[in-house]
């Protein structure tokens, strides 16, 4: 732990619905768009399998995040878990991966908001609207986390209710559907398509682990994080199943695979004005909510990296009035703008997925290490203990590696670039922190010394005696 603890100044007022709003707000956009590339690869059956396999992985990841977040209660989320339980190299890699994952997503969301605004008002230009959206959301997050996440709750709830109402109206026969589309687009690329579709499965849930990143700002993190995170995960599972069904019975599979706004298109095909309006509004709101949540999470990751001197400690300042990590929040703006106008947005989004998958390997691994180092369950160390651990953590790692391997179909160079980037970060920060000799101060967290630390200490002392004897 660092000695520089401005974190004490972060406001602690968030409740479970804020945690839900942060997690679902970031992710729901993936159900409004993006997930449908699973259909292009593996048809309706491939998409259904990708939804279930990715869903299983994310249920486990969210349980790991609930346990780790409610235990550590730190703003860095996956970065802090890796720092405490794995090591500085992995911590830096995960911290940067989380930052890149969310900031790339924010850039993509802001551009989509600008395109939607332009489609409604053709006289508007995409560039200034994108800038305006990024600047406005940065300002909201600068002013306070409660306002930012309350806004997210309202936006996300409207977008989710739109899906639910559309689904039940369709399921109860209010809308004319085409069940023949299910068979026609079942498995266009054969069995290999089932496997290839997995690479886009994470779109249904990408980023839900970020809900735990507001743990340090929760009033009662040991209740808010597990409850908000699990409620969020169930919401996304429900939304994913509804979305897949609606789109699969209203849009032919060949068109669904390449659709930009599949849920909105499904509503258009229903021909019912109220659903067209609701899903159009939902598409817009969910992009704003996602970008808003991404500003919150990416700034917390940067703030945590800065607090421990992985990057300049200048960013770890907390605003004296608004209690936000305001420099880290403001710094998201130029980076997001840079991503947005790089001209390689599809590559940026793929890099975001690679970064996310790296986290999905290291989060369960951090939990396994946490269970090994601190096996006892006490109110202080582990107020919430997830079920079936560490067995399901190993299973999540296996699924994440399997999905990563499927990225070789079409995204080989993104994958190699990701590995090289995070590999360099790993070795650079491992070396840097080996020389700084920074160690975790468990007593500062009110925790006991980890299992095995006494043996290690005695070993060091013995070595010291032997060397001094020489």
């Amino acid at each position: 732990m660092s000695e520089n603890h401005e974190s004490a100044s972060l406001v602690k007022t968030l409740r479970p619905f804020h945690v839900w709003a942060l997690g679902v707000g970031i992710v729901l956009v993936g159900e409004y768009m993006g997930w449908n590339f699973t259909v292009a690869k593996g048809g309706v059956l491939g998409s259904l399998l990708a939804m279930l396999v990715a869903g299983t992985m994310y249920v486990i990841i969210s349980l790991c995040a609930s346990e780790l977040g409610s235990s550590t209660k730190l703003a860095g989320g996956p970065y802090d878990w890796a720092r405490l339980f794995i090591g500085p190299g992995a911590a830096a890699s995960v911290g940067l991966a989380v930052y890149m994952e969310y900031i790339a997503l924010e850039a993509a969301d802001a551009i989509v908001v600008a395109f939607i605004a332009q489609s409604i008002f053709p006289e508007l230009q995409v560039f200034p609207i994108t800038l305006l959206v990024i600047a406005l959301l940065t300002f909201i997050n600068y002013r306070g986390v409660v306002a930012a996440l309350t806004l997210n709750f309202v936006l996300t709830m409207i977008a989710f209710i739109a899906i639910v109402v559309f689904f039940f109206a369709t399921a109860f026969g209010t809308v004319d559907i085409h069940p023949e589309y299910l068979f026609q687009g079942a498995l266009p690329n054969g069995m290999i398509g089932l496997f290839a579709a997995l690479q886009f499965g994470p779109w249904f849930y990408l980023g839900i682990e970020g809900a735990a990143m507001c743990a340090e700002e929760c009033k009662h993190p040991s209740r808010a994080v597990p409850l908000g995170q699990q409620a969020g995960m169930i919401t996304l599972l429900i939304g994913a199943a509804m979305t897949l069904y609606l789109c699969a019975v209203l849009i032919p599979a060949d068109m669904l695979g390449v659709s930009v706004y599949p849920l909105f298109e499904a509503a258009q095909n229903s021909g019912v004005f109220i659903f067209i309006a609701a899903l159009g509004l939902g598409t817009f709101l969910t992009c704003v909510a996602s970008a808003n949540g991404c500003v919150c999470d990416s700034s917390r990751s940067w703030f945590a990296l800065s607090r421990d001197h992985y990057v300049s400690s200048w960013f770890s300042a907390v605003h004296p009035r608004y209690n936000t990590p305001y420099r880290a929040v403001i710094f998201t703006m130029p980076v997001a703008i840079g991503f947005a106008f790089s001209g390689f947005l599809d590559q940026v989004i793929t890099f975001s997925i690679v970064s996310g998958l790296l986290c999905y390997v290291l989060i369960p691994f951090a939990l396994i290490r946490f269970r090994n180092l601190f096996p006892e369950t006490t109110s202080k160390v582990r107020p919430f203990a997830g079920p079936l651990q560490p067995f399901i953590a190993y299973f999540a790692i296996a699924i994440a590696i399997t999905i990563l391997s499927t990225l070789f179909w079409g995204y080989k160079y993104n994958l190699i670039f990701g590995f090289v980037f995070y590999g360099i970060a790993y070795f650079y920060f491992s070396h840097k922190h080996k020389t700084s000799k920074a160690e975790n101060n468990w007593a500062e967290m009110g925790w006991p010394e980890p299992k095995g630390s006494e043996n290690a200490r005695i070993g060091k002392e013995v070595m010291g005696v032997e060397f001094s004897d020489d």
Partner: protein, 92 residues
């Protein structure tokens, strides 16, 4: 921070009522999840049975994993809240 609170009957009643609220929310969402997933998997696999019959067990396995792990996870969340609600004064 461990708090040393005095638990009076009024507080106990309020806390159990709030805990029931949390429980009802989660149980309701779990019921909706199981209903919706069964409906969607049933519709899609049913309509494509000629193809899906070769590997339908994959859907059964992963649907089962999601429901079982999430249900046990939610029960653990409830147990955790019940265990610590007075200690950490969750509902004040």
């Amino acid at each position: 921070m461990l708090s040393s609170v005095t638990i009076n009957p009024e507080m106990e009643k309020k806390y159990h009522s709030k805990l029931n609220g949390d429980s009802v929310l989660v149980v309701g969402m779990l019921a909706l999840l199981i209903g919706v997933e069964l409906f969607v998997i049933g519709k899609i696999v049913g309509a494509t049975w000629e193809i899906a019959s070769n590997f339908y067990y994959l859907y059964v396995i992963f649907f089962g994993l999601i429901v079982v792990v999430e249900t046990i996870g939610c029960l653990r969340v409830r147990d955790s809240i019940k265990k610590h609600m007075f200690e950490f004064t969750y509902y004040d």
